[in-house]
Symmetry: C2
Subunit: 312 residues, 2 copies
Amino acid sequence: MAKLLILSGHADKYRRLLETAELPELEIVTATNATEAEAVGLDCDVVLGEPKLVQPILMKLKNLRWAQSMYAGVEQFLDPSLRRDYVLTNARGVFGDLMSEYVFGYLLNHERRVFERYRAQQERRWDSSATGMLRGKTIGLLGVGSIGAVIAKIAKHFGMTVRGYTRSSEDCSDVDVYYHGSDLLEFAKDLDYLVSVLPNTSETRRIVDASLLDVLPTRAIFINVGRGGAVDESALIHALESKQIAGAVLDVFDQEPLPKEHPFWTTPNLLLTFHTSAPSLPEDIVRIFIENYQRYLRGDELKYRVDFERGY
Amino acid sequence: MAKLLILSGHADKYRRLLETAELPELEIVTATNATEAEAVGLDCDVVLGEPKLVQPILMKLKNLRWAQSMYAGVEQFLDPSLRRDYVLTNARGVFGDLMSEYVFGYLLNHERRVFERYRAQQERRWDSSATGMLRGKTIGLLGVGSIGAVIAKIAKHFGMTVRGYTRSSEDCSDVDVYYHGSDLLEFAKDLDYLVSVLPNTSETRRIVDASLLDVLPTRAIFINVGRGGAVDESALIHALESKQIAGAVLDVFDQEPLPKEHPFWTTPNLLLTFHTSAPSLPEDIVRIFIENYQRYLRGDELKYRVDFERGY
């Protein structure tokens, strides 16, 4: 018999979905915060939870064998001072669809000049000037995992050229050209759109810095749907204020929620969203958990296992 | 030797592109309006032009054998009082990419709540409420020609269900279910998005009327990138004001430019653009003309020939 602790603001929804699945040999307890979790679940051997809620009790879970993160980002588990005597798996393969909707939504918003057209409407002005288009443009993906692969595929369907910057992998056939390591500035040269889907690791930290933003053309748009840590925020503000690049769209930040006094709120040509590009949908996450739980019961290797050193 | 009259506001650009192609046995004259055309081109046998500019001189072109429209819509040539003793061809196969960018740009703008997020940014408000998504939604296409086929293809890549309403054709494999004739209301039932790409013909006139809008669910969005004549404008205003449907996006209208006093400018949940969803790009149109001119020289049947009775 395994004991599962569900630790999430949506714990009830997760419980209902898992109970419907009638998984064998599983006792389920739920908590919506660390205090509740301490009362009901410190003896669990499996955790399914939001990383920021699991972190405070991680060291107290004496029987922990497996933690399934509800998110893709698992930086809360990676600090070297934390235990690594369990299997950590994250959510993968379920965010690509929603993130690509976000990326293309905002790219098309830019090209089709949606805000400008709306202003014309408010002024009763028939503005038949031409808009831009995705067709023929070049998009550069910082990171081509399961999310980048979906973005690359849709980009090809819109008639775009796709560049990919990865650590080493080259397994997405929708990427036209791959770049690695010190090729970063070569990768960024002449891009129309730069999109980061990078996780927060020591290697990705501040990878979007002044030198990278410098080589982008002035027409370029930068979108970050990965993690805020990959961006030098001051350098980005400078690039936008000095019109080195045409615009940026950020869904993730160094500090979230973004502090009220942060200059991003009013930086020119910057659109903000609030870590909502691809919410973890309980239906998607439960599907991942069920598949992994069946492997867990059989003693098979779990899917989406995180390498603590690599950070994803 | 053929004599070609180019009749367009961009006549110079067309001339340069055609001269570069070095087409054999072709004399080219250009005009940007009907008056100029009368001075230089009434004896032409071929016209390449914007329909609204060609119409006033159509009856005066004594040697006319072939007119290539720069647009897809050719309603200016269809009045039964006008001559039909020449071959009329329109532009096809070049608008699908741009129109699908428009359609998905505005659908994603709606689902991702781009305007709402922008208001939150202006108020320094971290709004992490969930947004909608295209995945799992159902789109209904009024008309599935070359444009509808591109929209259908992209819709499948975003994980959508595609319904198609056509006169009779069923040759697009990305359409999941076809509807015809009196199935119109069945077609519209439970659609998330209704998109019209219909031309202006006697059969499409006011096809989007109160009875059709009535069966759409209250969450539905209507987009018109075809022709304004397909829509009963009063019925649409009523549907939007009474919240029978959630929103509409219109690029085409009964009267263009839209008159200053038209209620559309301020109808709630209506976004307007200004017949710019898919501009005729000279590079695209010239490619069509060159292909057809080579057929013309050989005496072969021309591509994209318009049936004067059917209207497209």
